[in-house]
Structures are given as structure tokens and as C-alpha cells.
Assembly symmetry: C2
Homo-oligomer: 69 residues x 2
DNA sequence: TTATTATGTCAAGTGTCTTTTACATTTATT
DNA sequence: AATAAATGTAAAAGACACTTGACATAATAA
């Protein structure tokens, strides 16, 4: 799974701290998502999507390797 | 968070086993999601949405209580 | 009524998401 | 060049998603 979080953040000139605060997680969580260390929970994905005014699928791009949970 | 999984399953006359097999989890997982014991992971939510030909937000309905992760 | 199918509970175990804390590096500003 | 802001790493701990296995009940069919 790929995410467009970092790209969207830069397009909108938002820092990791600002996004983290907005969706109520720590900055570490944002870093980990952007660096692909792990995948967001459903609720967090929803909050991030809401923050950017997009649908979850517009930000989190699923690929073949997501056959595994 | 509420889910429309059970409703969609019945509309489409799909059993828990069939859905579980289709999205590659155990039946217990489907039961737990339907009964609200826990929330799906992002990838599982995506697979279920794909299975029903809908967007994640059409199946998983987020509410105020989802302020917490 | 008996057998089968579908749905449900419970509990223990594994792995992953998220937090916290502390520190390092890069980029921008002055 | 020095300071601050933004981004990064690492590791431990807690919470939650998912599995497995065993068994119980409800609904449907033979």
C-alpha cells in the first residue's frame, strides 16, 4: 500500500506536526505512515482523508501486495 | 463506527463464510466486525468494499465517537 | 425429527498500530 | 555562523486486529 500523505501535505504546505495535531495522533505516527513502516487504522485513515477533503481510496493506494492483511 | 456489512451481506445473499473466504480472513473476523467487537484494518476494509463494489466510506460509517483512534 | 447450514460465544496467542521519550540530522531563518 | 523549525531514527510498552480451535444455538432442509 502506498500513501499520498506526504505529497498532499506538501501540496497544502502542512507540517507533520500540524497534520498530527489535526487528526489527533503523535508526529511519530505520521512519520511512520509516510515512511511506510505500518498502515493506518481505518479511523485514522478516515480522519486524514477528511482533513484533506478526499476519500480514503484517494490517499491510500492499495496494490497487489495487499492480499495479506 | 457502524458498519453495513451485515446488511450488504443479506441484500446480496452472501454467508459469513463466503465473505470471509472472499476477503481472506476467518469467519470469526467477519462476526467480530458485524457485532462491533473491533474495527477492520484499512486493508480489510478495502477488500470488503471491493467485494461489494463500494467505497470504504459507503460501508463503514464514521461517527462522533471516532474522535479516538 | 434428524441432519445440515448459518450464526454465535469464549479464550489464548501472535502480530501490528500507536504512544512516549530521547536524541540526530536536515533545512530555513536571522 | 548560529538558532530554530522540520524531519528523521530507535526502542519499549500498551492496545487492538486477526487467527485458531472448540463448542453452542438457530434456522433450514431432508
Amino acid at each position: 500500500m502506498e500513501t499520498r500523505i506526504q505529497a498532499l501535505r506538501k501540496e497544502n504546505k502542512v507540517t507533520q506536526n500540524e497534520l498530527a495535531d489535526a487528526v489527533d495522533v503523535t508526529r511519530q505516527t505520521i512519520i511512520s505512515l509516510e515512511r511506510g513502516r505500518y498502515k493506518a487504522s481505518l479511523v485514522l485513515a478516515h480522519k486524514i482523508a477528511q482533513y484533506f477533503g478526499l476519500a480514503i481510496e484517494d490517499i491510500f493506494v492499495f496494490d497487489q501486495e495487499d492480499e495479506n492483511i
